[in-house]
């Protein structure tokens, strides 16, 4: 019986939008218009768009902060309109830009909010709080009993993240969670989020207006404009095959140099094909191509060995290859390699 359930869980998309639309009262046009897409288990989907594009409205319809005016949304196969609202929301983690930690509760109490509402036993909650704090990079002993007012923005958002994950949600909704933080903290948290997501195989829907963030974090990206999905594809596909002029302009698909800022070494590395020597120059797969170009100039190397986890060689990039970058077609580039 359990096997069947697990099987079912993996077959059914975690989230499915079917012709969903939203029009606010007294509005002339739909904020979100006829949107359909699915999200599978373990996907990290970023939703990219300008302000007013409908991206936040889209997200907020998932946990029914906004109610859709047309269409259906299915969560693990069930129509969310038929689910008990609070039970449903407790299965979906929610992280917002302004963070919204409860100022009158300690960090531990904040994180424990949903578990305590679900009536978990105290020991289970305490353990969970410690696990989560460690996961988001905060020492439990030091942070458990602190109040949000005494935390920095970055620390607060880490707690916000932990709080959203407390009850082991099937889906995480994140609305520009790092938007209010300084650039350095943002980078750090982005990297940590990716690690967490890979470790737990969490399904995430992440809204942002920052192209680099969207492409860095997302397995696939939904590009929204004027309430409609302009393109829903992997970053590579978007770059090399933009669906329309809007997308093309947005990601500067015509601009070769711009592409360098969005792709990483691992995406274009070709097969190793030879035995690495000690003198070989190496470059990590997560280095962005503009930095790779800079390294080429600095070192005048003919090629770099691309390394993956633990410094293991996984591929190579040659100068020749790089020079012809503009002619790369998308089949010469594979984003899955990055996950190695």
């Amino acid at each position: 019986m359990t096997m069947d359930l697990n099987q079912k869980k993996n077959d059914v998309p975690v989230l499915k939008f079917q012709r969903v639309a939203k029009r606010f009262p007294n509005a002339q046009i739909n904020a979100v218009n006829d949107v359909s897409f699915s999200v599978n288990r373990g996907d990290f989907i970023t939703i990219l768009g300008r302000s007013g594009s409908g991206k936040t409205t889209l997200l907020k319809m998932v946990n029914r902060i906004h109610e859709m005016t047309a269409g259906d949304i299915f969560f693990e196969g069930e129509n969310i309109k038929n689910l008990n609202l609070q039970d449903y929301r407790r299965r979906v983690g929610y992280v917002i830009q302004q963070i919204g930690l409860f100022p009158h509760m300690t960090v531990a109490e904040n994180i424990a909010t949903v578990p305590s509402v679900l009536k978990w036993e105290k020991t289970r909650i305490d353990t969970r709080v410690d696990v989560l704090l460690t996961l988001v990079g905060l020492d439990p002993a030091e942070y458990r009993n602190r109040y949000p007012g005494k935390l920095s923005g970055g620390q607060q958002q880490r707690v916000g993240l932990a709080r959203a994950m407390a009850a082991e949600p099937d889906l995480m909704l994140m609305d520009e969670p790092f938007g209010a933080l300084d650039a350095i903290t943002r980078q750090t948290l982005q990297d940590e989020l990716v690690k967490i997501q890979q470790k737990l195989n969490t399904t995430i829907l992440f809204v942002t207006h920052d192209i680099q963030e969207a492409f860095k974090l997302g397995d696939r990206v939904i590009i929204m404009d004027e309430g409609e999905i302009q393109q829903y594809a992997t970053p590579i596909n978007i770059l090399f095959e933009p669906a329309n002029d809007f997308v093309s302009q947005l990601v500067s698909a015509e601009d070769a140099v711009q592409k360098l800022k969005v792709l990483r070494a691992g995406a274009i590395a070709s097969d190793l094909g030879f035995q690495t020597k000690s003198g070989d120059l190496r470059i990590d797969k997560d280095v962005y191509l503009d930095k790779v170009l800079a390294r080429f100039f600095e070192t005048r190397a003919e090629y770099f060995v691309v390394t993956g986890k633990d410094g293991q060689p996984i591929g190579q990039i040659s100068w020749e290859q790089f020079k012809n970058f503009a002619q790369f077609r998308k089949d010469g580039v594979d984003s899955k390699k990055e996950a190695v």
Binding site: I65, F102, V114, L173
Partner: protein, 232 residues
């Protein structure tokens, strides 16, 4: 002066039970009024909380009532409810609405929307959201309002003596009528005394609630903005 002081303390020893009775009477009126006022203001606040129009209208109405001197307010009610406690209690309940409703609304409106959105989004039911989040955060300002209200109630109960409602004001009027300043002084002292105690007690409670709401705006700053001075 000497004549005064020679009679001052003996008066207490001779009449402390009478004074005590009036004191208790006074407190009883004040607390009854406060209790009824809280229930009424809570009910009204629930009704008008969501509507800006209603909030402004209701606060405007009670604000006008608040500006009326208590003696005048009593005198308007006496033809309806007669002399004595009923008129006083009714008038005071009306009077306190402005302070209490204003502070209740302010307290709840002061909560950061992000906090409420996060709470709702994570699946807290409206009741849980209210008890665990809204109430503790709004409490300092509400208690602040209660503090002002009880001080006002004690003060105005003194005046209620003019319509035979009882309380320490009776002592004052006896002293005035019989040209016996000692009574007036005792009345004043007792009244100022219970005002001070009530104010201090409520202030401690208010401070405690504020600390609990940790990291929230100090109550003073929020109330300043309701007075109409928008800090740029």
């Amino acid at each position: 002066m000497a004549a005064f002081f020679s009679k001052f303390f003996p008066y207490f020893t001779k009449h402390w039970d009478d004074m005590g009775e009036l004191l208790l009477d006074h407190l009883q009126i004040a607390f009854t009024v406060l209790g009824i006022s809280l229930i009424v203001s809570a009910g009204l606040s629930i009704l008008i909380y969501r509507s800006e129009f209603l909030s402004t209208a209701v606060l405007g109405l009670f604000g006008a009532i608040y500006s009326i001197p208590s003696l005048a307010l009593f005198s308007v009610l006496v033809p309806l409810l007669g002399l004595g406690k009923p008129s006083a209690v009714f008038a005071l309940v009306l009077y306190l609405q402005y302070i209490l409703i204003r502070n209740i609304l302010a307290g709840f409106h002061a909560i950061s929307p992000a906090v409420l959105e996060a709470g709702a989004g994570m699946g807290l039911s409206p009741a849980q959201l209210f008890l665990r989040i809204r109430l503790p955060l709004a409490l300092p300002i509400i208690i602040g309002g209660m503090r002002i209200a009880i001080v006002a109630a004690i003060g105005m109960t003194v005046i209620a003596a003019t319509i035979n409602a009882g309380g320490l004001g009776m002592l004052l009027f006896e002293g005035l009528r019989t040209h016996y300043p000692v009574k007036i002084v005792w009345g004043t002292l007792l009244c100022a005394g219970i005002t001070w105690i009530a104010n201090s007690l409520m202030y401690e409670i208010e401070k405690y609630c504020l600390k609990k709401a940790n990291g929230e705006l100090p109550a003073k700053e929020v109330i300043k903005s309701i007075y109409g001075k928008k800090v740029a």
